[in-house]
Each structure stands twice: as structure tokens, then as C-alpha cells.
Amino acid sequence: MSKLKYLPNVVTLKLDRAKCNGCGMCQIVCPHAVFKLEGRKAQIVDRDACMECGACALNCPEGAITVKAGVGCASGIISGMIRGTEPTCDCHAEGGNCCG
């Protein structure tokens, strides 16, 4: 079975290669092998595999990566719409979670 892919050309991931110091942290933390070090600089090699978790941006010491991270969850987005807030995992009033 090939890797499951979600919708193409939607993610907000951006990499500023000029700022990259080649530390490779993005390649380590990415759960979908979106980055690869090429010529001592990171490169986005599988953009559509990005799930916008935000781990790369948070762990980039140079601030070279930006991504609008958030919850990729329909019910989270719906409850955010109802409450007029950002999408949230808190499906329950007491602050529990709905993720597995």
C-alpha cells in the first residue's frame, strides 16, 4: 500500500533557504519526511505530505520555517466555528480531548 496522501497544494508551509543553517532539525522532527538536507541546506521535497503540525517551525533555531499550524480535525473546526474561536481539540466543555 502506498503512502496515504491528502489534498494537494493546500498547505501553508514555507521555507526560507537563505536563513537555513543546515542543522537538520526539521528533517528529524517531521513525521512525514517533508524535508531533506541538500547541499547543507534544508529543502522541501514532499510538500503535499505536510500536515501542518508545526514541529519544524517550532524547532528551527533560525526561524527559517513558517507554517500556519493547527488541528486538522473536522469536528475541531466545527466546534471552533460554533464558539467563534480557533479550531480546537476540546470537544467537551470540561476540556477533555477527542483525539485517539
Binding site: V10, I28, A33, G54, G72, G76, C99, G100
Partner: protein
């Protein structure tokens, strides 16, 4: 959230290294296994927490590795099982009883909590090295360079799955690309199905009673088919259903179940009735499978939002038209 599992308390009672450090066994007891199964099936799952703090696994020394974990008992149990035969420190963060990845997404498994917990537990007095092994999926909440600046500890990201930890440790803290990738295989999806089923069951039960009063058992069977399509078939058949959007996959899962109920004869042999249930089953199934994006490991929020904007108006219109058509055949 503060109530802890009674059996677990018993397990951590004995302590060898220091009176303040609870010692935990690697092996899970029978009651551990039974309770873990119940939680998987969504019973009591918001109340399955471990006390945050430092734990000793085996007989750790000042050189033993420090594993950072969440205070969700399923997470904690996976970790201690994966480390059978090893001595290590486990630093449990307070994530309100939520697993590492979800808690990291919310920021409770985060830089601030990690730095605080390192200080609160006086970790630097127990170990001579300055290295924290953080599960890779925790990186969504933790900034390695900030932790280093604020606590003096270096964050090393371990593999995604606890089962790869021993290999990771014996390879000198090196993970293969495979260990760094999140999968969404059939077993991964199957463990999530009970939660999907239980979560929407309340609505399903209400709607069933309503439908039963209006039309007897057949519409209830059809509704059950729609529910099964969206909450079970969609997630299980995910890679094989056409389309990339979950709502489209759910629509096709609904078509399969529509064929089943037509064959079973719970949909009457009239075009309007077929159209009514076709719209109802596929729209409900599409919506339910779309909600499975929350449990999936590869959908981006931008993608989900795009999909929802297109799919939800269609799902709502289809459901309303389907319901009206059904009422028309039923009562006119």
C-alpha cells in the same frame, strides 16, 4: 482528571531508589490490560491519568537515559512495556491525561511544562548527563533550542513509536527514516474505530427512536447502515476508497452500504425511496468519515478546512432533501 486508576497506584507503591521516586514495573498486569481495553473503547477515557513527575524504571543510575512522556496511562504503559529489561528515568509531564501528540498540538506537552517539570523534580540532581529523550511527536509542542536555553538540557528526539526505542538507544540515539515517519496502517485505524462509534452513538440512538416511531424497524436498519458506513467502513477502507478528501471516501462507503440495505430489502423498491435513502446514507456517511480527519495522522488543517467548505453545504442539502423525500413517501 485527578482520579487515578487504583491498580496503578498499587503498582507504583514500592520504591527503591529514593523515597520520593516511585518505581514502576515494565510488565503490565492483567488489570492494566483490561482497563486499557476499556479506555480504547472510550469508557472513562478522560479519567485515565498518571501523576506527573519522575519515575524510576528498573535500577537507573546517574548515567541512565531520561525518557519524557505524557501522563496519559495508555502512553505511559506503552513506554514502560517498550523498555522491558532496561533501566531508565521516566519524566512524566502534566498533559491533563492526554497522549503526547495531541497534548503537543495543544501545547500542554510543551516547552514551558518540560522546563518546569525538570526543575520541579530536581532532575539535574539525579542524572549526571544533560540529555532528555523526547518522543518525536512531542516536537509539535516542544522547541529543542528553547528547552536548552532555559534548562540546560539537550533535547534528543526519539522515534515516533515506543517499540523502536530499544533499537534507537542501542544505535547511539540514532533513528532510521522509517522510525521517524508516522503511519496510518489498518491496525492504526482499527484501534480508533471504537472511539468513532461510541462518540456519535448518542445521536444515533436518539435518531433511531425517532425513526422507529415514524416508520418501524426498516429505517432504523438503514440509519445503522449509514452509521456503520461512516464510522467503520470509511476509516477501515480508507486507502482503497476513491478520492483524497475524506468526505468523498465517506460518500463511497455510504454507496456500499446503500447497496447492502437495498439487497437486504430494508429500502422499499421505489425510485423515490431509493433516492431518499441514497441521499441520507451517503450524506451521513460522508460527514462521519470527514470527522475521522481528526483521528487521522496525515490531514492538514488547511486541507480539512478546504474540504469542509465544499462538502458540508452538499451534505446538509443532501440530508434535508433525503429526509423530505422519505417523509413524502412515508406519509403521502
Amino acid at each position: 482528571m485527578k482520579t487515578r486508576n487504583r491498580e496503578f497506584k498499587k503498582a507504583v507503591k514500592g520504591s527503591l531508589c529514593s523515597p520520593s521516586i516511585p518505581k514502576v514495573p515494565c510488565k503490565l498486569s492483567l488489570s492494566d490490560r483490561f482497563n486499557n481495553f476499556l479506555v480504547r473503547a472510550s469508557f472513562n477515557r478522560h479519567d485515565y491519568a498518571v501523576d506527573p513527575g519522575l519515575y524510576a524504571l528498573g535500577e537507573p543510575t546517574a548515567d541512565s537515559p531520561v525518557m519524557v512522556s505524557a501522563n496519559y496511562k495508555l502512553t505511559f504503559d506503552l513506554l514502560r512495556q517498550a523498555l522491558v529489561g532496561l533501566s531508565a528515568w521516566i519524566l512524566v509531564l502534566d498533559t491533563n491525561g492526554v497522549n503526547v501528540w495531541c497534548a503537543a498540538g495543544k501545547g500542554t506537552f510543551g516547552t514551558k511544562e518540560l522546563v518546569n517539570r525538570v526543575k520541579l523534580t530536581k532532575l539535574s540532581e539525579f542524572v549526571s548527563h544533560r540529555r532528555l529523550i523526547v518522543p518525536q511527536l512531542g516536537a509539535t509542542g516542544i522547541s529543542a533550542h528553547e528547552v536548552r536555553a532555559e534548562s540546560g538540557f539537550n533535547v534528543v528526539y526519539g522515534p515516533v513509536r515506543a517499540e523502536d526505542l530499544i533499537t534507537f538507544l542501542s544505535a547511539g540515539l540514532k533513528a532510521t527514516p522509517k522510525m521517524r515517519e508516522v503511519t496510518f496502517s489498518l491496525p492504526d485505524r482499527l484501534v480508533l474505530v471504537p472511539v468513532e462509534v461510541v462518540q456519535g452513538f448518542r445521536y444515533f440512538a436518539f435518531a433511531s427512536i425517532f425513526l422507529f416511531l415514524l416508520g418501524g424497524i426498516n429505517p432504523v436498519v438503514n440509519l445503522l447502515a449509514a452509521y456503520f458506513a461512516g464510522a467503520v467502513l470509511g476509516p477501515v477502507l480508507l486507502p482503497w476508497l476513491p478520492g483524497r478528501a475524506f468526505s468523498i471516501k465517506g460518500f463511497f462507503a455510504g454507496l456500499i452500504m446503500l447497496a447492502v440495505v437495498v439487497a437486504a430489502g430494508t429500502v422499499e423498491a421505489s425510485l423515490v425511496e431509493l433516492l431518499a435513502w441514497g441521499l441520507l446514507i451517503t450524506s451521513l456517511s460522508s460527514f462521519l468519515t470527514m470527522n475521522f480527519t481528526g483521528a487521522s495522522t496525515y490531514t492538514s488543517p488547511s486541507g480539512v478546512l478546504k474540504e469542509m467548505k465544499l462538502a458540508m453545504p452538499l451534505q446538509i442539502v443532501a440530508a434535508i432533501v433525503g429526509a423530505l423525500l422519505w417523509l413524502v413517501v412515508r406519509f403521502f
